[in-house]
């Protein structure tokens, strides 16, 4: 939302901008509209910096995976064939769709016009997120039944295959934790927006949550070929 839009809102008697201002932005020596715009900028800027940090976090994980895979190509291919590509592909589709609904919610909230659409999209996003976790749960159960947990009873004979599955469990669990946090944030927005008519309108929290959600989605886009496609290319 541009500064001009905020000013317009203010002129139309937008009561809650002042209520939403918080320290230290509320003390800026400008008019409320500018200060509010800067508070919004601040939230977006902060989340981008945090996402940079997250990129390094997952980047280091991917790098470790790459190094281990280069050293143990055969075993990683063999291990990759053991993952369940049906669940993996289904989850990829679910998560991509959730990003669409999240993007729609974010844009709609930003325009401040389509409250019902925003709410529905937020709810859909949370449901897609939960669906992902459910599918993942089924997949985990199957993996455990197939003895794909590294350790004494591991199913594959090649030792480095255990490294692959070490990654598999670690990365998917870390991703699931990120996703759970995302679901909690989205659900919170949906509930608050449902209770308070003006809550979602131009609220920077929607954009912040959406950016985070997209990161979690992008991480999965990297995980999918890393975990499900090795050894299946021909």
């Amino acid at each position: 939302m541009s500064r001009a839009d905020v000013e317009a809102c203010l002129r139309e008697g937008h009561p809650d901008i002042e209520a939403r201002m918080r320290e230290p932005w509320s003390d800026l020596e400008t008019d409320h509209a500018t200060a509010f715009a800067r508070q919004r900028d601040g939230a977006a800027f902060g989340i981008w910096v945090f996402l940079a940090s997250e990129v390094l976090f997952f980047g280091a994980l991917f790098l470790t995976y790459t190094a281990a895979r280069l050293a143990n190509q055969e075993a990683f291919a063999a291990a990759g064939r053991e993952t369940n590509i049906v669940f993996g592909t289904l989850n990829t589709a679910i998560l991509l769709t959730s990003s669409l609904t999240m993007a729609v919610a974010s844009q709609a909230a930003d325009k401040g016009l389509f409250r019902r659409l925003t709410l529905w999209c937020l709810a859909a996003t949370a449901v897609f997120g939960l669906a992902f976790l459910v599918v993942k749960g089924f997949e985990y159960r199957e993996d455990i039944e197939k003895h794909l947990v590294p350790g004494a009873h591991f199913a594959l004979s090649q030792a480095p295959a255990q490294i692959f599955f070490g990654f598999y469990w670690l990365v998917t669990v870390v991703h699931a934790i990120h996703l759970s946090i995302g679901i909690a944030l989205v659900t919170r927005l949906a509930v608050m927006g449902w209770r308070d008519v003006d809550f979602l309108k131009e609220n920077p929290q929607v954009e912040v949550t959406a950016l985070y959600w997209h990161l979690v989605d992008v991480v999965w886009i990297f995980l999918y070929p890393m975990l499900y496609l090795p050894g299946r290319s021909g």
Binding site: A60, L63, P150, A159
Partner: protein, 563 residues
């Protein structure tokens, strides 16, 4: 301490109290008002309290280590106890004292004041960051109480994952948690410096301390997550048996070292860049001169932060890396020394044609320059591959990084603490004691660590509780120095605490310094400034002909116009 009246005309703070808003210290006295505060100044105090605690825990471990090393035999401690003590010393000092020391205490307090803001961009996140730090620290201390950890602060695999029988997972979890505290601080400072600078405070008018905090924050944000992942992998391997680095199953322990040092080498710069910022403030103030080559100083900070990310390999010349990689890392390690050298020359140049005074903060700052120069020069030895191969993992390396991380950074921390103490607490401390402590610290430090260079080149390995007897002379010297150093570190604790209770009230600008943080009361009110600061010139507006600086806006309001 100077008692000249502040040029703002507000020499009598007692009278001020009647008219001005109460200081941040007086703004609520309940425990709740401290533990749930979002005031960056109060959070800085919270950090100061916890890191002091950790400093003395880590210091106690170091004392025992130095006592044991006074003789070549193992007579005071058992091998396991010794191993746990140096691990404790390293973990606590690195992650719970040094890394948060300047950024989270002085940085938290000063960054908003220096840029003319009311607070940091995300005050609640700032508080959360402190809780994460305390939470992580508690886990690490819990590990200590339950029986300790014996892996060394580097947690090298496969020792830490497969062989150690101590509380590795808990400690790793503690460090992991405190990593998020660093990231939160980094995000907060970057956003604050980008978005909350006062009107007129352009990038090249920022004090060097703010630049130092900015570059440090970049490293917090970009390096810490890699440490988090590395420790997470160790945790997963140890606790859940997910074999990432296990050599028996095709994993590569060298990969761990690459990841670890990708964080831990920048971490050295996380510890020393803030110190450089502090020292730039101190030297300009007590030399009464603009800093020599401001823009070079800024570019040097940025260059160190950027190149510092690409030199980690020099920790691994003996671990088995390709000779080409070793050459590249060696070259980059030499390159990163160039901006450090520029800074040393510029600090020296700042003294030229100044009005040099020798108040205690300046003594700490000059001590910093000496110790940092020696620490930096010995870094060149470690960048030269043949010499590094010989001294890697010996006391030479121990001495080198203590010169940088303790000699330089801790001196700067103490210098900064003395410099801003009147602003932070509103009290003055006994200057004679402070000068004595500063000088004692410098000589105690050199006595402790210089002999270690010699012992190291002679071949004494680190992490030995018993050692061949020919190294004893150097260890005795070092242990004697450690005793002096311990006294020098305890003295400020004594007289600074005394000053809180009995010290004279400080004036608003006891040093006649030029920074924006001195343009408010001592201690500042909750909202930092009276009126809105507007900046019209660059920092360090000192002129050596006279002692008083040229003042920027805002002036303190004259009486009667306070609203």
């Amino acid at each position: 301490m100077s008692t000249t009246a502040s040029p703002t005309g507000l020499a009598d703070p007692d009278e001020l109290d009647l008219r001005l808003p109460v200081s941040y210290l007086a703004d609520g006295h309940s425990v709740r008002s401290w533990l749930l505060t979002t005031d960056h100044k109060r959070i800085a105090i919270l950090y100061a309290v916890t890191i002091t605690l950790f400093f003395f825990i880590g210091g106690a471990a170091a004392t025992l280590v130095r006592l044991e090393l006074a003789t070549p035999e193992a007579d005071l401690l058992r091998a396991d106890t010794y191993n746990k003590l140096f691990t404790l010393h390293g973990v606590v000092m690195v992650w719970f004292f040094l890394i948060p020391s300047i950024p989270n205490t002085l940085g938290n307090f000063l960054v908003p004041l220096m840029i003319g803001a009311r607070d940091v961009a995300f005050p609640k996140l700032n508080l959360i960051s402190w809780y994460l730090n305390v939470g992580g620290g508690s886990l690490a201390v819990a590990a200590l109480l339950l029986g300790g950890v014996d892996t060394g602060w580097t947690f090298y695999v496969p020792y830490s994952t497969v062989f150690s029988n101590t509380w590795v997972s808990l400690t790793v979890l503690g460090v992991f948690t405190t990593g998020f505290s660093s990231i939160a601080t980094g995000v907060n400072f970057i956003a604050t410096i980008h978005l909350l600078r006062a009107p007129g405070m352009t990038w090249f008018r920022l004090p060097l301390f703010v630049w130092a905090m900015y570059t440090t924050s970049l490293m917090f944000v970009l390096a810490t997550p890699v440490l988090a992942v590395t420790l997470l992998l160790v945790f997963a391997e140890r606790t859940f048996g997910l074999p990432i680095f296990d050599p028996a199953r095709g994993g590569d322990p060298i990969l761990f070292q690459h990841l670890f040092w990708f964080y831990s080498h920048p971490a050295v710069y996380i510890m020393v860049l803030p110190a450089m910022g502090v020292v730039s403030e101190l030297i300009t103030c007590f030399a009464r001169r603009k800093v020599f080559g401001y823009s070079f100083m800024v570019y040097a900070l940025v260059a160190i932060a950027v190149i510092g990310f690409f030199t980690w390999g020099h920790h691994m010349f003996t671990s088995g890396m390709s000779p080409y990689a070793a050459l590249v890392f060696s070259f980059l390690s030499f390159v990163v020394a160039v901006p450090s050298a520029i800074k040393v020359f510029n600090w020296t140049g700042t003294l030229y044609r100044g009005q040099v005074g020798f108040e205690s903060p300046m003594l700490y700052a000059l001590g910093f320059v000496g110790l940092f120069t020696l620490g930096g020069l010995t870094g060149l030895f470690l960048a030269s591959i043949p010499v590094d191969v010989h001294v890697q993992d010996t006391y030479f390396v121990v001495a080198h990084f203590h010169y940088i991380m303790v000699g330089a950074s801790v001196s700067a921390y103490f210098g900064g603490l003395h410099f801003w103490w009147p602003k932070i607490t509103g009290r003055t401390y006994p200057e004679t004691w402070a000068r004595f402590a500063a000088i004692l610290m410098f000589f105690g430090f050199n006595l402790t660590f210089f002999p270690q260079f010699i012992a190291g080149y002679l071949g004494m390995p680190r992490r030995y509780h018993a050692y061949p007897p020919e190294f004893q002379i150097w260890n005795v010297l070092s242990s004697a120095g450690a005793a002096v150093l311990a006294v020098a570190y305890l003295m400020p604790l004594g007289y600074l605490t005394w000053s809180l209770l009995f010290g004279e009230r400080a004036t608003n600008n006891p040093w006649d310094a030029s920074g924006l943080e001195w343009r408010t009361t001592s201690p500042p009110p909750r909202q930092n400034f009276f009126g809105s600061p507007r900046i019209q010139g660059g920092p360090y507006n000192y002129h050596p002909e006279g002692v008083a600086p040229v003042h920027d806006q805002p002036r303190l309001p004259s009486r009667g116009s306070l609203t």
